[in-house]
Symmetry: C2
Subunit: 204 residues, 2 copies
DNA sequence: CTGATAAACTTAACACTGTTAAGTTAAATT
DNA sequence: AATTTAACTTAACAGTGTTAAGTTTATCAG
């Protein structure tokens, strides 16, 4: 019964079509101006049709975030292969994180600020499989490498990961939510922040 | 004409009454569940009445944020008087910032994430007088002291201020928006972050 | 080819939101 | 007492996410 498979494929294609339109609308108009009704209008269907392909708005936003997370995970694994020095890996990974965040402000907003959080609480985030979670774990592994290689001072990998993570996050969030922030050039501030953090944990 | 002054005082009293009710509703139900209509219901007036005392929702939220900012500025000036060592001042100020942020999650949300930002862009924030701005400037002065006293390595005060600011901000934001975050105890993570940042800029 | 079944999609509504123009009531002034 | 001013409300606009119910369209069995 190839007809059933064909239907499934068509359904999947439509899902992707909606997702693409959603991303466009999202990037074009921004998070605040995005609505299910506007998306429906854009694809030329009634709002209810979207609900046949996505449970609700959150499910749609989740799908969009996973798209972005996939890109990140890809780049992260690439970095891990390209270098041997774990500190170099970490530096590259952190700078990439900054860059991705600043270049995809709207995705970032969804990722972190949609109530009550698309990925749920931190516990739920770590339990439920997702590409975003894999990205986080890959990042933590790099931090572990830095500590295990004795290039970093002795410290709890979990805590250090969180400190790096949280600081970078703060920079991105400020840049996104406060237009014209920071005074200092964003690229320079990003590099300075990453270097400061690494300096704080580097031996001697 | 004392009657006009009395009216003005009554009007001011009502403004405060609305503000108090708003804060209650805000703390009780959280930012997401706060609405002008619910506030109106709480104080027993029609929604439109609020608009006679506050231009719009943003004006009301702004007033609430300034209340919190005033508390912060008070504590900050207290810290500046209590200590002589600028690094100690900075450490205290940073820890206080973390504490205040974590203890007032909903105010913090308004402060930073209401579109397009209650205090406007960073440029507008720095130009227009506000208590929040004064707090930021007081904080920057402490950083300057640290650099001028040669206890810190040579660096641009503006950039360093932003790095501290942004990192602390990230910790608060993550804690607020991701329940159960971080894994590490919040107080410990806060202290570790502050110490890491200071260590990165401390001489030798 | 016809009738039943299942899938796809829409209409119309619900319960909200912030905001405002216009109308009403109560108080103060002339 | 008549008029002006202030305080407050009603009713509406334009929007939001979401869903129950109805309609159209396509697939399947006999």
């Amino acid at each position: 019964m190839g007809i059933r498979e064909k239907r499934n494929r068509q359904k999947e294609e439509f899902r992707v079509k909606i997702l693409n339109a959603a991303r466009e609308l999202f990037i074009e108009k921004g998070y605040e101006a995005f609505s299910m009704r506007k998306l429906a209008h854009k694809i030329g269907f009634s709002p209810t049709t979207i609900y046949l392909y996505f449970k609700d708005k959150d499910a749609l936003l989740f799908a969009m975030c996973e798209e972005l997370a996939e890109q990140c995970l890809l780049e992260l694994t690439k970095i891990r292969k390209q270098h041997i020095d774990p500190v170099k890996k970490l530096r590259k990974a952190l700078l990439f994180h900054v860059k991705t965040g600043l270049e995809n402000p709207d995705h970032y907003k969804v990722l972190f600020f949609v109530h009550p959080g698309i990925y749920g609480s931190q516990t739920e985030f770590m339990q439920r499989p997702s590409i975003a979670r894999d990205t986080h774990l890959a990042f933590k592994d790099i931090v572990k490498e830095c500590i295990d290689s004795k290039l970093f001072i002795k410290a709890d990998p979990e805590t250090v990961t969180e400190i790096f993570y949280v600081s970078i996050h703060g920079l991105i969030v400020m840049s996104i939510f406060k237009s014209n922030y920071p005074w200092t050039d964003r690229e320079i501030l990003g590099k300075t922040l990453v270097d400061s953090l690494i300096r704080a944990y580097l031996k001697q």
